[in-house]
């Protein structure tokens, strides 16, 4: 499991760094490498907080790359790789905390299948979104933005609430 997590972290850091380096943004290229190295140390040392911190940091770097219009496709791939690494890190932690895993191979396989589907779909949709350019007036953008925020608020809120309610 550690190997899979390390591979995900390495991929995310390398892709983001390559994207930045291809545009000669050296500082931006060094940052994901440093973060990736730190995350790897955290995985080895068992620092649980490092996963969330590094994931958010790598996502922020990808967003910064997007903002600076530095290789958007690579930034998207880097973000998806960071998501995969974060997810696998979480699975690894759960497996470690359980100390005994029964049917571990089946559990990991099912998880990887679902993750691959999610990552593939996310990458596909993100790639399509990057290719589509729609011009919206300010009014439409505002209305769509409000709708998106309201929808997200309700969706996430109800999901978190229902997860809490299940804790009997």
């Amino acid at each position: 499991m550690k190997l899979l997590v390390s591979a995900g972290i390495g991929l995310a850091a390398l892709v983001l760094a390559t994207g930045a380096a291809s545009n000669a943004a050296w500082v931006l290229a060094a940052a994901p490498i440093a973060l990736g190295a730190l995350w790897l140390v955290g995985v080895v040392r068992g620092w649980d907080w490092m996963g969330a911190f590094s994931f958010v940091s790598l996502m922020s770097l990808a967003a910064l790359g997007m903002w600076l219009r530095i290789a958007p496709m690579l930034m998207l791939v880097g973000a998806v790789a960071a998501l995969i690494a974060w997810d696998l890190d979480g699975l690894g932690r759960r497996m470690r905390s359980a100390r005994r895993v029964e049917g571990g191979a089946t559990l990991v396989r099912a998880h990887l299948q679902r993750l691959a589907a999610v990552a593939g779909l996310g990458l596909l949709l993100g790639g399509i979104a990057l290719g589509i350019h729609i011009r919206l007036s300010f009014g439409w953008a505002l209305v769509l933005g409000l709708l998106a925020i309201l929808g997200l608020s309700r969706g996430c809120g109800s999901a978190i609430r229902s997860a809490t309610e299940h804790r009997q």
């Binding site: 996502m59 930034m75 029964e102 099912a110 969706g155």
Partner: protein
């Protein structure tokens, strides 16, 4: 926490994209949104599980292994990611296996959680098993507590004592091993009396008869009977000493168990009072059942915060008047008055006192100040013990480094306690 983090990231990217009218930001949020959506669609319902617990033994001795087995069956829908965790009671150590398992459980399938624990004296209650089902991405969970009660009592180790020579003022009518201060059939010589019809001729005392030719005289022996013994265990926090070697109280508990075992083995009626901030009684009784009751009470014994002895109102139902009381206590300086009052109420009192000073000195740094402090404490303790001896209360001082069996047998197996009760040092 994980869904919240993901939601915040999506929020941030969407808001940033809308505010800056930059579609790339929203494109970056899409994989996260897909992940959150997939987890939402897959989020589990509260798992429906049945659980049964079995223990290899509900009674054990300190350090003995107890195997805990939990069989959990899924009576609901299939669970892709199920974490089963048991909180092991404080004081027990898992020595084999693990009390948690992560597994996928199909409908109707069963998983067994088996582990071995051991621990020190105590009463341990197993409560619920926590089951957490997660979606396949591990973002959302549903947690239930599965009721699976169980308990194990770890009774103190019992040291076997061969003989305890106690001499209470009152005995019961049944034959036993305690000298009853009355002439009759027995082993020990008690006195001489005039011959009565039916007396065996081998009891005739030739020397006395020769001095008194007008009558025959026979030897009389001391009857041996069972008696009532009340054991009082001092469970006050103030009288305990804790060091790196453990707690003095644990030694006191062990001594109490040994005394109860030996007294019950000789057919006596034994009761127990654990004296902390509350009084915990084990009513007097005989035999193996009573031994088990006392051991279980000792397993549960906990120390409480109480400064003084207030044993002025001992119910005679529990400790009959003139019966033998054995106090197991490290003793505090102000205990003597209460003990003398007990003695004045005609109880035959014996004190077994684990030595707190020697116990605290074990392994402690031997600097000058500590040595002086120990010397002063030793003087105070000697004065306290002398006061008790003068009041007719025999005290058996137990230096913990010596086995209790050795100390008890040296002090109590042959020594005439009636002599000690007159004020002599054992």
């Amino acid at each position: 926490m994980r869904p919240l983090l993901l939601s915040l990231l999506i929020y941030g990217l969407v808001v940033l994209g809308l505010a800056s009218v930059r579609g790339e930001m929203i494109a970056l949020a899409l994989p996260l949104l897909v992940c959150l959506g997939a987890a939402l669609l897959d989020r589990p319902d509260a798992p429906r599980l049945s659980v049964s617990r079995s223990l290899s033994s509900d009674r054990a001795t300190p350090g003995a292994p107890v195997v805990v087995s939990l069989v959990i069956t899924n009576t609901g829908t299939p669970l892709d990611d199920l974490l089963l965790e048991e909180v092991v009671p404080d004081g027990l150590t898992v020595i084999d296996g693990t009390p948690s398992v992560l597994t996928a459980l199909a409908a109707g399938a069963t998983v067994e959680l088996m582990y071995t624990v051991s621990g020190g004296r105590g009463f341990y209650r197993f409560d619920d098993v926590q089951a957490t089902a997660r979606d396949r991405l591990g973002l959302f969970d549903a947690r239930v507590e599965l009721s699976a009660p169980g308990q194990v009592v770890i009774v103190p180790e019992v040291i076997r004592l061969r003989r305890l020579a106690i001499r209470p003022r009152r005995t019961r009518v049944y034959a036993g091993a305690v000298p009853a201060r009355q002439g009759g059939p027995g082993v020990e010589f008690f006195g001489v009396r005039e011959y009565q019809a039916g007396d065996p001729t081998r009891w005739i005392n030739g020397r006395v008869t020769a001095r008194h030719p007008e009558a025959l005289f026979v030897n009389e022996f001391e009857q041996e009977r069972v008696t009532d013994v009340g054991i009082i265990l001092d469970a006050r926090v103030q009288s305990d000493v804790r060091t790196a070697h453990g707690a003095l109280f644990e030694h006191a508990v062990q001594a109490t168990a040994a005394l109860a075992d030996a007294l019950l083995a000789h057919g006596n009626r034994v009761g127990l009072l654990i004296y902390g901030s509350t009084l915990t009684w084990t009513l007097p009784g005989y035999g193996k059942v009573q031994r088990e009751r006392i051991l279980r009470a000792l397993a549960r014994a906990r120390q409480r915060d109480l400064r003084v002895f207030g044993l002025d109102y001992l119910p005679t139902r529990v400790f009959p008047a003139r019966s033998q009381l054995i106090l197991v206590s490290a003793l505090l300086p102000y205990d003597s008055e209460a003990l003398v009052r007990l003695r004045a109420r005609d109880y035959q009192l014996l004190v077994i006192s684990p030595d707190p000073i020697a116990f605290e000195q074990q392994g402690a740094d031997e600097d000058r100040a500590a040595a002086l402090a120990a010397r002063i404490a030793r003087l105070e303790r000697t004065l306290l013990l002398r006061k008790l001896w003068q009041a007719g209360i025999p005290v058996v001082e137990w230096p913990i480094e010596q086995p209790f069996q050795q100390v008890a047998e040296a002090a109590l197996s042959h020594a005439p306690l009636w002599a000690m009760s007159a004020g002599g040092r054992p």
